[in-house]
């Protein structure tokens, strides 16, 4: 019920915009209200050039495709957050974003909407809609200014495609002499990027340790779901995915090292393994960086669907490229069988972040994307290697 209500609300962009305007109006006029309302925003204006129709890691939901040999602005985004402190312990927060989607339509959606209760002693209870705290990049994917790089390092499907959930979350912090711990327990209903996958019960536990020169974040999650295989639209099957992640940032002698690893073992949807390593060396307001990221998707047919229903004989060519990296639905006779095999991607990036002033940065980013697609899944390009260049202006307000 809560999930349905949130989904309906998230579709109602007018309400969101009204809320922002209302918040801004209060902020401008009513002094007592300004004490209780907080308004924050973020933006990215991103121009990306690619030599192929390449799927790139986007700041918005779904897959972002940079069309070959043209300047793409689709990785640009504008977001806002409004918090209202109803009492000293109860806060209502809504955060949303607007962007141009894969169909060239302007889209507005809510990606955070929750009530937070301060239980005292650094315990918090939150209920509502959240981004999955699996990796830093999955939670803050749309907020470009928050990260060093011009693009999120975590690939499109983030936490196995389950990038948000509706439910409850409990946070506990402990501050020690040598650093601080933060634990997070979340449970509810997960939301998948694809309409064909219907998330069900999920649970996630995260632990984060922050010291002066480093932080470590780890998460473990389990999600159950129903899915309708592309090849068998009349059938609904149940699956589940177990995921673990480890991510860290260490600063040694001004050199910043980031690395991360995530593994998702899924029955039904593809299993994922992702790893990255980044090195950066700040020189005043300029920070040159390099990263390497590897992503593997295993489309193994672990439910045996291909054996149960072989593809129709004489099946035609594969359908057009999908929006979300999975075969689209359509004419059943045109559908491929359930994909099988591995889809590997290697990303090598070299970039520069220039912090012009507090809250405003420019990033220049060159990236080589190599892909090895053994699955038969339609991809925007069949090229093994693409070169992309991005220039982005990112800020907060």
């Amino acid at each position: 019920m809560v999930k349905v209500a949130l989904q309906v609300f998230s579709k109602n962009c007018c309400s969101f915009l009204s809320l922002i305007l209302l918040g801004a109006g209060f902020a401008a006029t009513a002094e007592p209200m300004t004490e209780r309302i907080e308004f924050n925003g973020f933006y990215s204006l991103d121009a990306t050039f690619s030599n192929n129709d390449q799927s790139i890691t986007g700041k918005r939901p779904g897959t972002t495709i940079a069309n070959g040999d043209e300047i793409n602005l689709k990785n640009s985004i504008l977001g806002a957050k409004v918090s209202y402190l109803t009492t000293d312990t109860l806060t209502v927060t809504i955060q949303g974003q607007t962007y141009v989607d894969a169909d060239d339509d302007v889209n507005v959606d809510i990606n955070w909407a929750y009530v937070s209760y301060d239980l005292s002693n650094d315990n918090y209870l939150r209920a509502g809609l959240f981004q999955m705290p699996f990796l830093q990049g999955t939670e803050l994917r749309s907020v470009g200014y928050s990260r060093l790089w011009a693009r999120p390092i975590v690939l499109d499907n983030g936490a196995g495609g389950f990038n948000e959930f509706s439910g409850v979350e409990y946070q506990q912090r402990f501050n020690m002499d040598y650093g601080s711990w933060q634990f997070q327990f979340g449970a509810g209903v997960a939301e998948h990027d694809l309409d064909d996958v219907d998330g069900k019960a999920m649970a996630i536990v995260t632990a984060r340790f922050q010291a002066e020169s480093y932080w470590i974040h780890s998460a473990i999650a389990h999600i159950e779901y129903d899915m309708t295989p592309m090849a068998m639209p009349e059938m609904t099957i149940s699956g589940d995915v177990s995921m673990v992640s480890l991510e860290s940032q260490v600063v040694v002698d001004n050199t910043q090292l980031n690395f991360g690893l995530s593994i998702g073992d899924s029955h039904g949807t593809p299993s994922d393994t992702m790893a990255y390593l980044s090195l950066a060396y700040p020189l005043g307001e300029f920070t040159p960086y390099f990263y390497y990221a590897w992503h593997n998707q295993e489309f193994n047919d672990r439910l045996g669907l291909n054996d149960r229903t072989p593809p129709p004989p004489g099946m035609g060519p594969l359908p057009p490229p999908p929006k979300n990296g999975m075969p689209p639905t359509g004419n059943p006779q045109m559908r491929p069988p359930v994909p099988d095999g591995a889809f590997d991607r290697d990303n090598y990036a070299l970039g520069l972040r220039w912090d012009i002033k507090e809250g405003l940065a420019v990033k220049a980013h060159y990236e080589i994307i190599e892909q090895d697609n053994k699955t038969g899944v339609a991809a925007p390009t069949s090229a093994k290697r693409s070169n992309t260049v991005s220039l982005s202006l990112e800020g907060i307000f």
Binding site: T93, N121, S146, E358
Partner: protein, 136 residues
């Protein structure tokens, strides 16, 4: 001559920050804090004083002393601090200290609102405030 000027500038800048202290209302139950506790409160790692009372950090919006303060307590530059707050604010895990428009507003708030804590130059302290941390 230039070296002498730079030396004087350095000495002067050190003297400016040497006077920065952390203060609360004189009626507060908190009498002293350690640097880690100041850092935890101002970086939103906790919203409680060690005795369990609610802590509400406040500061003057855009004030120059802010740079020196965060450099001292957390070794963070303004841009590093800005990136830090971005990750907390947009994941709902914390928020920066409330920014007030000027010194009189800050002092009034400190004197009248329980739990508020801020930093000032020692010369700006009023009789209704007390120092709970001095930088070494």
């Amino acid at each position: 001559m230039m070296k002498l000027f730079l030396l004087l500038l350095f000495v002067f800048s050190q003297q400016v920050y040497a006077g920065l202290v952390v203060v609360v209302s004189k009626d507060s139950t908190v009498d002293v804090l350690q640097q880690e506790q100041v850092e935890n409160i101002f970086l939103s790692k906790t919203n409680r004083f060690p005795n369990g009372d609610k802590a509400i950090p406040i500061e003057i919006r855009g004030d120059q002393s802010r740079i020196g303060f965060y450099q001292k307590i957390a070794d963070k530059t303004p841009t590093q601090l800005s990136a830090y707050w971005t990750t907390l604010v947009f994941s709902g895990r914390g928020k920066p200290p409330k920014g007030l428009k000027d010194l009189p507003s800050l002092i009034t708030r400190l004197e009248q609102t329980n739990g508020t804590i801020s930093y000032l130059d020692e010369s700006q302290i009023t009789p209704n405030l007390k120092v709970i941390y001095r930088f070494p």
